[in-house]
Subunit: 596 residues, 2 copies
């Protein structure tokens, strides 16, 4: 990205600000659907800043500009913003004001604050403007400036059979209507793309790496209206939707339809993940019942059919990763491998798995110090070559016709320092401590976090990201509401683990300029047993790939840790070997030998 | 307690119910101040049921009666209620409705529900009556029935010097007024006895085992009114209170004074721990700002002077416990010792510590299977004699002129089964795992709970009580707001550990009919270090008494566990030995030898 182009774009926006009397423009990196990953059409913050992070708030004043992002992106954002004149604001760091605090300090009283109210959630809009004496102006900041802006996507959706979903859309709609009734709502307005896809058992290709259909859904007591690009509706889809009682309307009519048809009624609408403009449309004539969508929890607990497919695809996905790790181990230092070619190798192995649709996110392929950036993405022409020393971290996943996968392994390329080995071992100890945890039914992710962090905290180190997130089913690779984290997060703190929920287990350790380590497997929560003390739950691991034993320093592991690693590795060999050729099998045998 | 007397009392109440058209009477085991431990005057639920638990809700219908209490008291309450015709309702057990749910199912529509609104908190009153079509009648159920009811207490308060409290009352009042201002309140009505005693630096003897003064406090922007028994006011106290700007009023005038003097103003009042009647008094003419009292958090984080005294008294208190454990070890099986005489021995050793005021709670002295009742209190004539096998559990503490202590040890009396050793070892592992935990600043008790429970959960066992509670300073032995627990608890979930907070670390394991084990030490939270990962905190242990090494089975301990126990025991010997005679010292030396 040419830094001069950024200057020009910001300058053009400031020209408009001056003309229209705007004192500040606020932009967030989301779309009309509060998506974490968005189609290129919506990358307005990237257009104006060059910053590719997916959790950005950008505030442009007449003289200065400031961009907030979180700890995952501090290093990459610093590089991207260098020379643009936009100041990086590190979220959550000591002494760094939030965007709201910054506005309170710098925004003139009774000034004009411009934002695109369709691209900011109601909750964020309220939070940003709370206590500001601001006149809010609804504008599209890119209008007239982003001349080659990509059009909104309109891929053709496909329908998932009940043998894949385990539950028909009519059954799902009926369960949702029961929850609407309990919440005292006549309608439920759904803007979250994954919730819509899950409810209707349809998938599309409108968002990079997420098989989603750009749409809104308005569920009524007896009606159901889907708003999507009409050009994308096939005959098959039209017939299917008609069959399940869903009417199709053009995407652009959602706003006016919502305003007119819900007037006078209570509408269940989640202010935390609905765009401010749509929330306002409901509030204008109806009554917003501002609660979490019941769909989120429904889709988080996978049903038995989904679990069956998930187990099957996770194993095949694990086998592809093992083949890659074998290839890497044989070839590193022997042939030219850089971060991009390594990622391409893994991506191609994954693409060979029958049922593969696309990647679930761009492969994070990071060698040596680059891996200290938790969400590093190698750039062509500026990526590192692998050699026989240190670690190589690869975080990757696929979309399959029966699973969304996510896995991270940190592979040994050659010689390691004592410090690197210790760091790797602590991460492994935390990873297996959570994987093998037993816990009381009713526990939340906050209760479980210390299992993963305990071994790191004991040595005075930590990782500045959550330990675990939920994962969709042929949907987003990050989904809620469950999570494993020690930090308080109002929307997820109270979420108890339910059988069928899947969650990542991904402790790490990052030392800027030196190395980055992360070990991530995906766990399936299940009921374990009940006795006089209560009900206990446990996890089944869905991911089967070796945790590089050559980097494990037994001095930092207890006997129990060692027994757990050995048990896991025995299972890895047993399950994955049938998918490998003789040479790969021999390698896996070595990599999964008992430590003890 | 004669069960027939209970019958008679309940019958008398039912006669009144019939006469006055009352469909149900609700009583809770608290006083006008939402106290956990109450003066005998307020033991109305005990009077009507014989149940001595301190967390009771009793509902009396014309035909049936039901008593709710929590897991600590299931076993003792079952015994106490047997033959009384009152049904035990186990709080939190599967299929057991709450008192509110029970009323919703059994209370007649538009019926009359009687309760003493001064002896139930506003929050509990709302919770109980929510959704019931009930006419609430404010009565004292004991009136006319409890003829020999003890009078309200009126002990003479004493004043604590700033060398003991570390902060004068005027400074405390000024800090409270700042918080009132931030909350937009003109007055703060305080009914919690510990908060009043802390604020004014006075103590009394109105509640068994808690040096409190029965009183209310109304803090205004510029005024401050204390309501207490006038007969108890000494000249010295009157002069002291005048000096700090506090007016004295009779205890009984609090209600009318509150109603008249706060009319039209916003009053900070905590509905969760203020009696419903007083809350209503504020709401009648003023506006209730229903928030947690700011005093709770202020008194929870001990100041440096308090910490100095606490460290000193905890050490002396530990030495008294060590002397007792030595005496027990020498004499068990040799002379006649029963649960009561053992408690008397410990109580007398504690009383010898200079600065001792009284016990902080009745000593829990439980041998063998009796210890499975987590809050067992031995009864004269019905208590167990100790012999040379199994465990003896003692949970005890004192009030000193510079600390409130609390400690539990489970001592080996003789032969143990493998199961008993394993259980003891798991409890010890959890206990030391929390004691030596390092954790990120900002962690709550929910994040830390898995440190203590992890080793037990891993073996499929647990204890049905919290891991840790705060402790007052010459105040209640239980205080908030911090706690260590995995269960969600709305008022404490978000409370982060602050330097200076003290908290108990008391995992246990109880097998009904067999044994009960608990190991409890008190921990002081402090800042530890800050590095590139963030700020870390740690605990200092305040309690120094051996954890009986004869019951530790090394097979269930990691090398790290063993190293921690050895380090702790080395410190116990070093600190406590100077307080012991030669024979005791020799014994302690043996008890604190390294395991490895």
């Amino acid at each position: 990205m040419d830094k001069k182009m950024i200057y020009g774009r910001v300058a053009a926006l400031r020209e408009r600000m001056a003309k229209e009397g705007i004192d500040a423009v606020v932009m967030t990196s989301t779309d009309d659907h509060a998506s974490e990953y968005v189609h290129d059409h919506y990358k307005v913050t990237e257009f104006f800043s060059g910053c590719t992070s997916d959790n950005v708030t950008l505030v442009i004043y007449p003289e200065t500009a400031h961009l907030w992002t979180d700890g995952r992106y501090f290093i990459s954002a610093a590089g991207e913003l260098e020379g643009t004149g936009i100041e990086l604001m590190k979220m959550g760091e000591k002494g760094v004001p939030t965007a709201h605090e910054h506005l309170k300090m710098n925004f003139p009283a009774r000034g004009v604050l411009a934002m695109d109210r369709t691209c900011i959630t109601h909750k964020d809009a309220c939070g940003l403007t709370c206590g500001l004496e601001a006149v809010v102006m609804d504008i599209d900041p890119a209008e007239g400036i982003w001349t080659d802006r990509p059009a909104r996507p309109k891929s053709r959706p496909f329908i998932l059979d009940e043998t894949v979903t385990g539950e028909g859309a009519e059954s799902k709609l009926s369960r949702i209507r029961q929850k609407m009734k309990a919440a005292g709502a006549r309608f439920h307005f759904v803007s979250d793309l994954a919730e819509i896809a899950w409810t209707l058992n349809i998938r599309g290709d409108d968002v990079f790496c997420s098989p989603l259909v750009l749409s809104f859904l308005l569920i009524g007591n007896e009606s159901c209206s889907l708003f999507m690009a009409e050009e994308a509706v096939t005959e098959e889809l039209a017939a299917y939707l008609k069959g399940i009682g869903v009417e199709i309307h053009p995407y652009d009519e959602a706003f006016s339809f919502l305003k007119e048809n819900t007037a006078g009624y209570p509408v269940l609408i989640d202010g935390a993940c609905t765009a401010d403009a749509y929330f306002a449309a409901v509030e204008e004539n109806g009554r917003a019942v501002d609660e979490e969508s019941p769909i989120e929890l429904m889709k988080a607990a996978k049903n038995p059919i989904e679990i069956e497919h998930i187990k099957d695809f996770y194993l095949r996905d694990s086998a592809a990763l093992c083949k890659f790790l074998f290839w890497l181990d044989k070839n590193v230092g022997e042939i030219e491998i850089d971060e991009i070619s390594a990622a391409e190798k893994l991506d191609s192995l994954r693409a060979e798995v029958p049922g593969f649709l696309e990647l679930s996110f761009p492969t994070i392929s990071a060698y040596g110090a680059n891996a200290a950036m938790a969400h590093y993405a190698p750039q062509p022409g500026a990526c590192a070559s692998l050699s026989k020393r240190g670690f190589y971290l690869v975080d990757s996943g696929g979309q399959y016709m029966g699973a969304t996968t996510d896995v991270t392994r940190t592979a040994v390329c050659g010689e390691l320092t004592e410090e690197e080995k210790k760091a790797f071992t602590l991460v492994a100890a935390g990873h297996f401590n959570l994987m093998y945890a037993k816990f009381r039914k009713g526990s939340t992710g906050k209760v479980l976090d210390a299992f993963a962090r305990g071994p790191l905290w004991a040595e005075g180190v930590d990782y500045n990201h959550g330990t675990g997130h939920g994962i969709g089913y042929i949907l987003n690779v990050h989904e809620g509401p469950q999570s494993v984290r020690w930090h308080s997060a109002p929307y997820t703190d109270g979420v108890e683990f339910l059988p069928g929920m899947i969650v990542s287990d991904e402790p790490g350790l990052y030392v800027e300029g030196k190395y980055g380590i992360r070990t991530e497997s995906i766990l399936l929560a299940r009921d374990d047993f009940e006795n006089e003390y209560g009900k206990f739950m446990a996890f089944d691991c869905l991911t089967f790939a070796p945790v590089d034993r050559r980097a494990l320093d037994l001095r930092y592991l207890s006997d129990r840790d060692v027994a757990r690693i050995d048990a896991y590795h025995a299972e890895v060999f047993e399950k994955v070997a049938p998918f490998l050729n003789e040479e790969e099998k021999q390698w896996l045998y070595e990599m999964t030998r008992p430590l003890s």
